[in-house]
């Protein structure tokens, strides 16, 4: 009889893990809180650094899940985890031979940085809003006109002790570069300014894309973090930053301010971790067993991780890690049941 593995979370990590497990003859079961699969990547427009439509990656995954007849439970929230199963909010227990935590992350709520006026000013949007706009084919200001001057602010809810988010969300820098290019392609005559503290281009092709944004698209990079934003009489956004490279305060009015919101740990992590006997990293993410060979293993036998449950990750990293998770789970089940 096939061994059963419950995967908590049906995002990119969960789906990829399920497919890999299935191909190894293991029976995966996905428990998803939402009413459909896809997680955060669903509804994303294009992916860095190749501008691949997110749907091209996510849709086939979901299709294959369906084709492989992998069982999925929707609208179900997991309240407790142990190595032999999970407990659902409904009170139902779902037994398993191993559990994979693929719960991902929570987007930082930009309202918490009130000084940027998200939710207050019509033309302050987050990077997620921008993706949705691009998905709908229209990126416009609140009054329906086209933006001519856009500011993109990096590190909103990342590397900021004032909102208790001390970590780097890793993907925002490259997202900011990608979105700047997309905006420039959409509005070639518009000026796009990226305000950053540090530019972290860690992935393949990222630095090249950064350079392309600078050179080919003439995106302006200003080294300084915006400290406050205010709305002008005609609904434009006046921002203040220090241009740290010239050492002078900088004030400018833009049509649109895009906040690159970071990745926060899920609020529920703490409760889940305590039921499973796991510990959390200081930033609230699940703590992997170690940083090298045990990145997808937890401190408990039979509980594994996939994707951004352990740290902010790009989609590419998540998908690669999910395959590793499946192989680790496979190895674990083999060892365990051969011994018996």
């Amino acid at each position: 009889m096939a061994k059963r593995v419950v995967i908590v979370g049906g995002g990119a990590a969960g789906m990829q893990t399920a497919l890999e497990l299935k191909s190894r003859g293991i029976e995966p079961v996905i428990v998803e809180r939402d009413i459909e699969l896809g997680g955060k990547a669903r509804g994303w427009h294009k992916l860095f650094p190749s501008f691949t439509p997110a749907g091209d990656i996510m849709r086939p995954l979901a299709d294959r899940i369906r084709a492989e007849r992998i069982r999925c439970f929707y609208g179900q929230e997991v309240t407790a985890i142990s190595s032999d199963g999970v407990m659902l909010r409904s009170g139902e227990r779902m037994p398993a031979d191993a559990v994979v935590i693929a719960t991902g992350f929570t987007l930082f709520d930009a309202h918490r940085k009130q000084e940027y006026g998200y939710g207050l000013y019509d033309n302050v949007i987050t990077s997620v809003d921008l993706e949705r706009m691009m998905n709908s084919g229209k990126v416009l200001l609140a009054d329906g006109s086209e933006p001519r001057r856009i500011a993109i602010l990096h590190c909103v809810g990342s590397r900021d002790e004032k909102v208790c988010q001390k970590h780097c969300s890793k993907v925002c820098c490259i997202t900011g570069v990608k979105q700047a290019i997309e905006l420039k392609e959409m509005f070639p005559t518009a000026d796009v300014f990226n305000f950053y503290m540090d530019i972290r281009m860690f992935g393949p092709g990222y630095e090249e894309l950064y350079r392309e944004a600078q050179q080919r698209y003439n995106v302006h990079f200003v080294r300084g973090r915006i400290s406050e934003a205010a709305e002008t009489i005609n609904k434009r956004i006046q921002i203040k930053a220090e241009d740290t490279l010239t050492g002078r305060p900088l004030k400018m009015t833009v049509d649109m301010l895009v906040l690159l919101v970071g990745m926060s740990a899920n609020y529920e992590n703490e409760a889940l971790a305590s039921t499973a006997g796991l510990s959390l990293a200081p930033n609230g993410y699940f703590k992997a067993n170690d940083s090298f060979l045990g990145v997808v293993r937890s401190e408990r036998e039979g509980i594994f991780f996939a994707g951004a449950a352990t740290a902010p990750k790009s989609l590419a990293d998540t998908l690669a890690e999910a395959a590793l998770t499946a192989s680790m789970v496979d190895e674990y089940l083999k060892n365990r049941y051969n011994e018996k």
Binding site: Q114, E115, L120, E231
Partner: protein, 597 residues
């Protein structure tokens, strides 16, 4: 009768020493008072205030009414010690007079009356005074017993922590603890040897008589009186240098205060009265959040006053205070703790450089015009929702508004004052006053309680009414100039320190919230409200510590199970939002959302 015995020497020497030192201290402090203060004394001396002060001395120095309010048992302890001892002295004096008639009896004759007149034959067998004096002794002894008990279990008296004392205090305290048991023993032995004594000393004396032989009693008799006298002498010598100086300081302080003297941003001789009036009872320790949340044990008002009194005040202790006012609220002596703390900070070079803040000249970033001025405050520019809401409210109310700092303003000056640079702050005060005057406003509305306090206390804005926006909105609603709809949300309100304890504004914000939704109160509220930790007054604690204070205080707000936390200060707003992990709303915001246009 000479009323002299060798054992009285420690008492006489100690007593003379104490009175000399106290007299010297008083006269020095009075002589050094600034001319303004001396004029106030002259002016108010022959007024009703003096009589009120007498009554207050009775209430506070003897009966300790304010401590009763903190905890009845603690109050009784202080009262039995102070008032009991006082009565012992007074009744003792009457007793002597009753027995000896009107004749001069030296002090030791009163105090050691039992020794000199062991059996009294005048009033006969009634022993009225003996019983009375025994009753009073019992009262004081109860106080001593409670004091011992407090050392062991302070919680029983409503105090989680008691004061750590300096050497003089320990000497004086030990002597004090011995005085009354020693008196009990000495008088009981006297009763045993000579007979007499009240219900207490007489009974113990009788019991001792049956227990010990006459030889033993006689050999213990003199040493017991020696011990009693020595305990008194030691206490008297240590007293002016210990916390017990408060006994003789609080009395003139009460008078001076009634005569309208008060501490100021500059140190002066009057401060001495306040500083030495501190009995180091330690009541200020528990309300301090630096103690409760951060475990800091050296910076509370009691330690600050102690350090300042003994000239060992460090800059760190002076600066390490949120100035939330929670301790001042509870101080039984009513010491102006915040002001004293403030003028201790002014130690650094405070003479502003001629050119300092010269750049303010000619600056005017204000816009709009109207009889109402709106000064958002520096911090409010980081909570733009407040500014927008106020603008919305102004426009619905049809108010013409002059915006003082919509495009960046000049600081109100209070942050500089809080760090001791009072003279430099004056340049800001002058600048803003001039700005307000130039734009001819009648009402000044501010969204920042820090600004509000300084506008009210340190600015001379005669003719301009200064309001916090919660007061202003309350008036708009009351007068019907704006109408708000009620929504279903529940709101927990946090009292900002500077607005509540600082300016006494508690009801207006609550009325405004009540008009919009249902108001919930956290455990500590109004006068007892906790500080958010973000106070500008404290420059010692770091970010993490600020966060811990905010967390504890926010937890209480969250515990109300409210839908939304509301406050009325941009600093509190930031601190609570951070601790709660979600945005906090300002009073102006909830009003603007529910205003009927």
């Amino acid at each position: 009768m000479t009323f002299f015995a060798p054992f009285t020497i420690p008492f006489i020497v100690g007593g003379l020493f104490m009175f000399a030192v106290v007299a010297l201290k008083w006269s020095l402090w009075i002589v050094r008072l600034p001319r303004v203060d001396r004029r106030l004394i002259r002016h108010n001396f022959f007024t009703r205030e003096t009589l009120i002060a007498v009554w207050e001395v009775v209430r506070e120095s003897l009966l300790h009414v304010r401590i009763f309010r903190v905890n009845p048992l603690l109050g009784f302890m202080h009262m039995s010690l102070a008032f009991g001892w006082f009565l012992l002295i007074v009744v003792g004096w009457i007793e002597t007079t009753a027995y000896l008639g009107w004749q001069w009896v030296p002090l030791q004759g009163h105090v050691f009356f039992k020794y000199f007149m062991p059996i009294n034959g005048i009033v006969g067998d009634i022993h009225l005074f003996e019983h009375l004096m025994d009753a009073l002794l019992l009262m004081v002894l109860t106080g001593v017993a409670l004091a011992w008990y407090k050392r062991v279990r302070s919680k029983a008296m409503g105090m989680r922590r008691t004061t750590k004392h300096v050497l003089f205090d320990r000497v004086a305290l030990s002597a004090l603890w011995f005085i009354f048991p020693a008196r009990l023993v000495a008088e009981s032995l006297t009763a045993a040897v000579h007979g007499g004594g009240g219900f207490l000393t007489g009974s113990i004396g009788h019991w001792l008589q049956t227990l010990l032989g006459a030889d033993v009693l006689h050999s213990l008799y003199e040493p017991a009186w020696w011990f009693y006298s020595t305990a008194l002498g030691v206490f008297f010598v240590a007293m002016p240098f210990s916390r017990y100086m408060h006994i003789f300081t609080e009395i003139p302080l009460i008078f001076l205060r009634r005569w309208k003297l008060h501490p100021t941003a500059e140190r002066k001789s009057y401060d001495r009265f306040e500083v030495e009036a501190c009995s180091r009872c330690g009541i200020c320790i528990d309300p301090c959040q630096l103690q409760a949340d951060l475990g800091m044990n050296d910076t509370q008002s009691v330690y600050f006053l102690r350090d300042r009194r003994y000239n060992m005040l460090s800059l760190k202790v002076a600066n390490n205070c949120l100035m939330c006012g929670r301790c001042e609220q509870q101080c039984p002596v009513g010491i102006n703790l915040a002001t004293l703390r403030l003028n201790s900070r002014a130690k650094r070079r405070n003479i502003p450089h001629e050119g300092r803040f010269k750049y303010l000249r000619g600056v005017d970033h204000s816009s709009g015009s109207g009889r109402v001025g709106y000064f958002a405050g520096c911090m409010t520019s980081l909570t733009p929702a407040v500014q927008r809401s106020m603008q919305h409210i102004f426009s619905v109310a049809g108010e013409d508004v002059w915006y003082a700092d919509r495009d960046g303003g000049v600081c109100c000056g209070r942050p500089l004052m809080l760090s001791g640079e009072t003279d430099a702050a004056r340049k800001m005060v002058a600048y803003n006053t001039d700005l307000f005057r130039r734009h001819e406003i009648d009402v000044l509305v501010t969204s920042c309680p820090i600004c509000l306090k300084v506008f009210r206390e340190s600015y001379r804005l005669d003719g301009i009414e200064v309001l916090h926006h919660s007061e202003y909105i309350d008036r708009l609603i009351a007068s019907g100039r704006i109408k708000v709809q009620t929504e279903t949300r529940t709101f927990a309100y946090h009292d900002p320190c500077e607005l509540g304890r600082g300016c006494g504004i508690y009801d207006e914000p609550r009325r405004v919230i009540g008009a919009v939704g249902r108001l919930l109160e956290p455990r500590h509220t109004r006068r007892d409200a906790l500080c958010c930790g973000a106070s500008l007054a404290n420059t010692v604690i770091d970010d993490g510590q600020q966060q811990r204070i905010a967390q504890r205080m926010t937890d209480e707000l969250v515990a109300t199970n409210c839908d939304t936390i509301v406050t009325a200060c941009p600093l509190c707003n930031k601190a609570i939002s951070r601790a709660a992990g979600q945005p906090t709303e300002d009073i102006a915001e909830i009003v603007a959302k529910n205003i009927i246009v």
